[in-house]
């Protein structure tokens, strides 16, 4: 916290965008806090004149062109500033210098340095070091490019989502309506919107005709909201006279004054908040970093120790540097990061097939470690379309089928009352199917009209056949559309029977209003007088349906007496000249945006996987709670504080909040909660629903969960979700219904908008975490047989058993495919039954993995390698006892008559060929022991015999590495290119006993592990 406090103000005003100093961040934090506060719009409380005055505009003439141009220059274009992107070269450099690359760069530089020294001091310097330096540089650059392109590929996915169509807006300037590009709209412009338009800026509505806007992407409310010039609420988000940038006008027309443009709009503020959020590293990135630290630490420690040791033992500086290079090369698993990238890519591909599109590769694993999912309701848990859920007629509640595929139960459709109800719902309904969709199933068809009327239309169409036919038979004579004062809608129709000249009046609306206008009620097709008992039944039904979070509509009808209303009667809808009371009540229909069919199951799976599912929605608490109960977020039998209070008939304040496992929290309450209270709620309730939350509050909820150490996944589709999506460890956006902003902020996109896909994601994420462990255990093991040759070379002065080039052949050649193949390994047990991993305790690479890989299996491997080394030297005449201390003469180019154990004499080149043959044999031995290693790494607990060898890629990998080893050994020209020599067939078998030992040893270990759960073996060796 050393940065100067006094500087922050100055910096906050400077516009240097590239300045990424901590000071700037401080200024940024302040802005962020500001953005996290609620929207500061006040125009909705002003009168229209005041607003006009504020923006120097005229309600009829609009802005003058000059003013508009001036404002445009002052405020900039009406567009969202795209989030700052990291330049490509920075990303590339990050790949080039991140991870192990630094160590390898050091190795390469040391190589060049050593070569330079040699070139300066010797006449005929050996090219080995130059060669190795070039190879190392190439390795770093190639793996860097590889990771870069992998990353670039996944980020390219995003570009396909960008909406390139320029928006148009109709503005009034200097009294004329002009169509201009939406970007040129400025504050103060008078604009007109009509049904179907996207609102080009935040506007204060001046006049409206049946205007409804879809705010779902901003607030999460699934129903269109009507707009009017009156201020209905202090909160700008809830008042009727403000329409927001990038929401859609569903129907009607409106005219308004632009009050905010671009980034200053509500949507813009959310987008800015989103892009400004600092997201932490993904859990897997942290794990990989942790692991790189361990390996680098070991490499640096060993390197420096042996450098000093070499100097102390009297080696020259140059030799010591060459040892250092060797140790670095042997220690760094060069191919591992590429392997990890490939494994993640493979999983990402597999997930994409299952409709989870991963934008950021590292996010693949995040779902697996997720311990809390904050899910939006609308569109994610629900189908995002109103559907008739219940009906009440004949004094009975009937349940309608709300499933997407109409597989649910149906109700008795034979009742006359139902037919009447269906007729009313069909006739007193302005919604209609758009043309040309006859081939589609009814539920998939597009409807022109508002959500609840569409729901009714579809429901009737499904159960009673074509509504259009009914409407054709019953010609509409008059109609009063719904308005907020009447709270009903009525229409008058001719009857179906051509002989019956009566008119049929049908009406629907708010149930209590409808009831007031009724004197009779239809029961089993018969009119009965409405008595108190039936009224009470109505009330109960209404309450019950309302309690389910459903929107309830009442329906009634009346056959108008022919004597009063003869054929041709002129119905006047303005000045109602006909009977609108003493009608006959038929029934209630209630609608809800029903949960998706797969969601309850998915929530259940998340539960059993130890993941807490929290619902966070902008919708009303009752609806939210109903859906939460429907999908199992509030499980059966669990009560909220309010439920307990209602059951025990005591005030809410007397209930011990600890008794309630579930709770529903209203956004306005959330506002008043302190951080401690918030933590308390998140900690003590297992089933939580947040309703009426603002985007900022969603963010606070996510931060609260993260503060408690949870890894949080957020799902959402709206713009209102995007700050939370960004802040979450993994943001999951919806591919179909999701807004662009949310997709931009998310790490993963569910292409089918189905919450159930998340379960797949969790499963894949957990699997890849396990498999990465295996992959890393496999790769790290071969480090020991790579390092030990150097150590023995330095300490006991034997000829070098394994060269740096051969080490690279292992790390980048033979080890790669088997390591990758482990990513295809099946889960050992039901990974969806265990708790999510604890990021503080369950590390990707822990000391047990290192102990197994380095201390045990690696040691056996090293022995296998050394054994074949000794075999080859002994069979060529250099017995093991003879080798110790031979190095000085062995590596002396001038000694060309070095004597072996049998008295034969060897030239430098002759014995070097034997040495390189040893390198090749050591390399082949590592391949052989790695066969066993990959097989034991298939499982961490189970026996291979339980797991089976079903992983075809792994079997391919075994053959591939063997073929590659044989190729490197036997291909002509390899002696010159890589200094690898053909092996006698028997030398391939030297490491077999060790390979077998590895297999047996690990099977025994795993047997003990299974026999004594929690025992010493598990504590010390279960990685």
């Amino acid at each position: 916290m050393g940065y100067g406090r006094s500087d922050s103000y100055r910096v906050a005003t400077t516009q240097d965008k590239d300045d990424r100093s901590p000071k700037k961040k401080k200024g940024g934090t302040k802005d962020m806090d500001d953005l996290k506060k609620e929207v500061p719009i006040t125009e909705h409380k002003m009168s229209i004149e005041e607003v006009c005055r504020k923006f120097q505009t005229d309600i009829v003439q609009g802005l003058t062109n000059a003013k508009a141009a001036e404002f445009l220059i002052r405020d900039g274009p009406n567009a969202l500033t795209p989030p700052p992107t990291t330049p490509e070269w920075v990303k590339f450099c990050r790949q080039l210098f991140g991870g192990f690359s630094v160590l390898l760069w050091i190795g390469a530089i040391l190589c060049f340095l050593a070569y330079a020294i040699q070139a300066a001091t010797e006449d005929d310097p050996a090219g080995d070091n130059l060669y190795l330096g070039i190879v190392l540089t190439a390795v770093v650059i190639i793996t860097g490019c590889f990771s870069y392109f992998q990353e670039a590929k996944s980020s390219k996915i995003m570009e396909s989502f960008k909406n390139m169509v320029p928006q148009q807006a109709l503005v009034i300037r200097e009294g004329e309506k002009v169509q201009i590009n939406a970007e040129e709209v400025v504050a103060g412009d008078m604009i007109e919107v009509k049904g179907g338009d996207r609102i080009p800026a935040d506007i204060r509505v001046v006049s409206a005709h049946g205007c409804k806007v879809d705010n779902s992407s901003l607030t999460g409310e699934s129903e269109p909201q009507s707009r009017s010039p009156d201020c209905t609420h202090d909160n700008p988000l809830e008042t009727r006279n403000v329409a927001f940038f990038s929401t859609n006008c569903v129907e009607g027309t409106a005219r308004g004054i632009v009050i905010c443009t671009g980034d200053r709009t509500v949507m813009g503020r959310i987008a800015t908040l989103t892009s400004g959020l600092e997201t932490g590293k993904t859990p897997i990135a942290k794990e990989i970093e942790h692991f790189i630290h361990i390996i680098t630490g070991v490499a640096v420690f060993l390197g420096i120790t042996f450098f000093i040791l070499a100097i102390v033992l009297g080696y020259t500086w140059l030799e010591a540097v060459i040892f250092l290079i060797g140790i670095i090369v042997a220690n760094v698993p060069e191919g591992l990061l590429a392997t990890v990238t490939v494994c993640l890519t493979l999983t990402a591909k597999r997930m994409a097939k299952k409709n989870c599109l991963v934008k950021n590769l590292e996010a693949v694993e995040t779902l697996g470690s997720t311990s809390t999912i904050c899910s939006d309701k609308t569109g994610t848990l629900t189908q995002n379309r109103m559907t008739v859920a219940h009906m009440w007629f004949d004094n009975q509640i009937h349940e309608a089928d709300t499933t997407e595929d109409q597989s649910g139960a149906s109700f008795d459709k034979s009742s006359v009352t139902w037919l009447s109800l269906a007729r009313i719902a069909g006739l007193c309904n302005r919604a209609q199917f758009k043309a040309g969709q006859d081939a589609l199933p009814i539920l998939k068809r597009d409807v022109a009209g508002d959500a609840s009327e569409s729901a009714l239309l579809k429901c009737i169409e499904l159960s009673c056949g074509s509504v259009r036919l009914t409407r054709d038979k019953n010609k509409k004579v008059a109609e009063i559309p719904f308005n907020s004062t009447n709270k009903y809608q009525l229409s008058v129709h001719e009857t179906e029977d051509p002989n019956d000249n009566r008119y049929l009046l049908v009406m629907k609306g708010a149930p209590e209003r409808i009831l007031d206008r009724c004197s009779t009620i239809m029961i089993q097709g018969k009119d009965q007088p409405m008595d108190e008992e039936l009224k009470e039944a109505f009330q109960n039904a209404y309450m019950e349906l309302g309690g389910l979070g459903e929107r309830v509509l009442g329906f009634c009808h009346m056959l108008l007496p022919e004597d009063q209303y003869p054929k041709g009667f002129a119905f006047d809808t303005e000045d109602v000249n006909f009977q609108t009371d003493n009608l006959c009540f038929v029934g209630l229909m209630s609608m809800i945006d029903p949960p998706r069919a797969a969601v309850p199951d998915a929530v259940g799976k998340c539960r059993s996987a130890g993941i807490k599912v929290i619902m966070v929605t902008g919708d009303h608490p009752i609806t939210a709670k109903a859906i939460a109960k429907g999908v199992g977020i509030i499980s059966e039998g669990n009560e909220t504080v309010e439920d307990i209070a209602a059951r025990l008939n005591i005030p809410v304040s007397q209930v011990n909040p600890r008794d309630a496992k579930a709770c529903v929290i209203h956004g306005t309450d959330l506002k008043d909660l302190s951080q401690d209270q918030m933590d308390d709620i998140l900690r003590n309730h297992t089933e939580i629903v947040f309703a009426r939350t603002s985007p900022q509050q969603k963010l606070i909820i996510v931060e609260g969960c993260q503060r408690l150490g949870a890894i949080v996944a957020v799902t959402g589709d709206g713009v209102n979700d995007s700050p939370a999506l960004k802040k979450a460890d993994i943001g999951v956006a919806m591919g179909i219904s999701g807004s662009d902003v949310s997709k931009q902020a998310a790490d993963m996109i569910l292409l089918d908008d189905n919450f159930a896909s998340i379960v797949t994601g969790v499963e894949e994420g957990r699997l890849i975490f396990d498999n990465l462990k295996k992959s890393i255990a496999y790769t790290l093991t071969s480090n020991i047989p790579e390092i030990t040759p150097f150590l023995f070379f330095i300490i006991v002065n034997i000829p070098l058993p394994l060269g740096t080039i051969t080490i690279l052949c292992i790390d980048l050649g033979t080890d790669m495919v088997p390591a990758i193949s482990l990513a295809y390994e099946m889960a050992e047990s039901d990974i969806m039954k265990r708790q999510p991993r604890n990021p503080f305790r369950d590390k990707l690479v822990n000391e047990r993995l290192i102990s197994i890989a380095y201390g045990q299996i690696g040691m056996i491997q090293a022995l296998g390698g050394f054994f074949s080394y000794f075999v080859i030297l002994a069979e060529n005449g250099f017995l093991p006892s003879f080798l110790v201390g031979i190095r000085l003469n062995w590596d002396d180019r001038a000694v060309n008559d070095l004597e072996d154990s049998y008295g034969q004499q060897w030239t430098y080149e002759q014995r070097k060929i034997v040495e390189f043959t040893c390198h090749t044999a050591f390399f082949v031995s590592i391949v052989v022991v790695q066969w066993a290693d990959v097989i034991i790494c298939k499982t961490r607990r189970n026996s291979v015999f339980q797991q089976g060898m079903k992983n075809k890629i792994l079997i391919f990998g075994l053959f591939e590495e063997t073929a590659l080893a044989a190729f490197l050994s036997y291909c002509p020209g390899m002696d010159v290119a890589l200094r690898m020599y053909p092996l006698k067939p028997t030398w391939w078998f030297c490491a077999f006993p060790y390979s077998f030992l590895i297999f047996v040893y690990d099977e025994v270990r795993k047997l003990l592990l299974r026999r004594n759960p929690g025992g010493w073996v598990e504590r010390e060796t279960y990685y």
Partner: protein
């Protein structure tokens, strides 16, 4: 500011706690018994591994022959070497500066001491020349120790260091001894023709090298010294030598000399190996 310090202190105390936790008596995150168990495990495990390694090594050594290595394919062309030999293969001296060649003389004297006639006569046989001295084992019964043929120092004549104890170095006519690397069972010639050494100058030095004299005559390695039976069977084997005397090499200039073995059985060495079947060295004689 204070926050960072606190964090530092916290981190360091965490570290200290990790190193030695007085509450749980844990050293580096483990209690004494936990350390004991894991160390015991590793001790037993490594002892077992060592045992296994020793066992496999023992089995491997059992498969080896005591007298002849399993593979000799890398020694198809025997190497050649010169004496005297400095750090580099370079013989550079001043005729007038005794110190500059004194080292070479010492080197040659030491090298040739086992070739003294008295010693050779005492230990080795006088074999019939120009034919291999073959001493077969009869089945399982080893015909050991095998005898070796005499190579008397006097056979080197002017380069024996007997008549001229400075090997010509004091007169600018240095002797260089050339030897062929020992390879068990190698038969370097057929039809009674012994392999012989020829020396010549490399590149543009051909006019500087002057006339050469070879001892024994023609620079041959007589066939009677072959085959070699290995140091265990043929303890007193004496490696034959060829001496090359530079009679009138140019002074004050580097001469790159290459000597080659000429044989009708030995394969030509590979291009990469500069010492298989040949040997190169640099000769420089200064007059002051």
């Amino acid at each position: 500011m204070s926050g960072t310090k606190d964090e530092d202190r916290k981190a360091s105390s965490e570290w200290r706690e990790f190193f030695w936790n007085p509450r749980t008596h844990e050293l580096m995150g483990r209690t004494a018994s936990s350390w004991g168990l894991i160390l015991l495990f590793y001790l037993v495990f490594y002892l077992f591994l060592a045992g296994m390694f020793v066992l496999t090594m023992y089995i491997m050594l059992l498969t080896l022959d005591d007298y002849k290595p399993t593979w000799q394919d890398r020694l198809a062309t025997p190497g050649m070497m010169i004496r005297p030999k400095g750090d580099q293969l370079e013989i550079s001296f001043s005729v007038s500066d005794t110190e500059s060649w004194d080292g070479f003389i010492q080197n040659l004297n030491t090298f040739l001491s086992p070739y003294n006639d008295s010693y050779q006569v005492q230990t080795n046989d006088n074999c019939p020349p120009d034919q291999y001295f073959i001493q077969e084992d009869s089945g399982e019964v080893r015909n050991n120790p095998k005898r070796s043929c005499q190579f008397n120092r006097t056979m080197l004549e002017d380069c024996s260091g007997i008549s001229d104890r400075f090997y010509g170095y004091n007169r600018g006519q240095p002797c260089v001894l050339i030897k062929l690397n020992r390879v068990i069972g190698m038969l370097p010639g057929k039809d009674g023709q012994s392999p012989y050494v020829t020396c010549g100058a490399k590149r543009e030095d051909s006019d500087k090298i002057g006339p050469l004299a070879y001892f024994p005559p023609n620079g041959t390695f007589n066939l009677m010294y072959y085959p070699y039976y290995g140091k265990k069977a043929q303890v007193n084997y004496t490696q034959p030598l060829v001496a090359v005397k530079f009679l009138n090499a140019s002074l004050n200039t580097d001469i790159n000399v290459e000597c080659k073995i000429n044989s009708n059985t030995l394969a030509e060495g590979s291009e990469r190996d500069k010492f298989a079947g040949r040997v190169s060295f640099k000769l420089r004689i200064n007059d002051k």
